[in-house]
Amino acid sequence: MIVRVSTEGQYELKGEALERLNELDDTCQVAVEAGDSERFHACYEKLLKLIRDEGSELEDDDLRGSDLTLPPPDITLEEAQSEFSGHGLIPD
């Protein structure tokens, strides 16, 4: 499965790492809903570390799309709480 960390890059993750990713994603979501900034950032750091450590980064010229997209590493709790919408180059 190809996972994109916004503003960072794409990683390919397999098997067991994906299950852990899923669990961490749920944990982060709970922290977001609780409005607990510290817990959210700790959790999200862990999640990103999992991707960076266990995933293999795609080459820059790889044209494959991602199956999953994660918010940028510097996302704030407020951003995570609001329906996260990235503005982009592509006009709406």
């Binding site: 994603d25 997209t69 995570a80 982009g88």
Partner: protein, 268 residues
Amino acid sequence: MAGLTGRMSTVVKAKVSKLLDRAEDPAETLDYSYQKQVEQLQNVKKGIADVVTAKKRLQMQETTLKQSVVKLDTQARQAVSGGQEDLARTALERKNVAQTELQGLDTQVTELEDQQQKLTDSEQKLRAKIEAFRTKKEVIKAQYSAAEAQVQISEAATGVGEQMADVGLAMQRAVDKTENMKARADAVSELEAAGTFDDVTALGSGEDDIDRQLKQLSSQPAVDEELAKMKGELGQGASASPAQIEAPAEGGQEPQSADAQPAEGGQA
């Protein structure tokens, strides 16, 4: 996946499919897509240039503020050795404000550098993908039937489209940051324009509006402490400069402990 990844993926997929929807005639679309991609790359370059400009502006303000800190410190020392405590206090209050602003600027410059790096990395990835797309485009044109080409184009354009959406996001975040910083930088400029960091000795004795505002801004205990320290270092009351000006009568309300402190060998 339901959590953060789910929502984020939806946003990106929506953007990418909007980009791909423009595809009609495969062969024409290929060249058109490529041309659009190259155009977008120019926008990214411009975005990076804007971040660099904002950073330079903040760095210039940092330099000015650093000079002000040194100047105000010197003036405070001169005022202390001249027995002009009010003037020394004013200079220290201003120095305090300048230092606080400096710290804020420093953090912001670091943040901007971080954003700039991210944008540059993203741009590099986008460039690599556009180049890969260009190669693939020629292969698709030469080898595939119209129906097959449609599929191939979608696949190739997805990678580029996604990267483009990502660069767009990085750029938006950088712009948001620079706008916050611009507001702050403007605030510093206003302080400068109001003469906050100017030569305090040129202001005359009367307490003006700026002084009153600064007293509220600067933390009084920090100023008191620094004044006391400065007096200790300069060994005030001992054999100071011969051209010493008489201390004003109201100078009696200074902190008692100040003079008791022995010189800590600070000022050479």
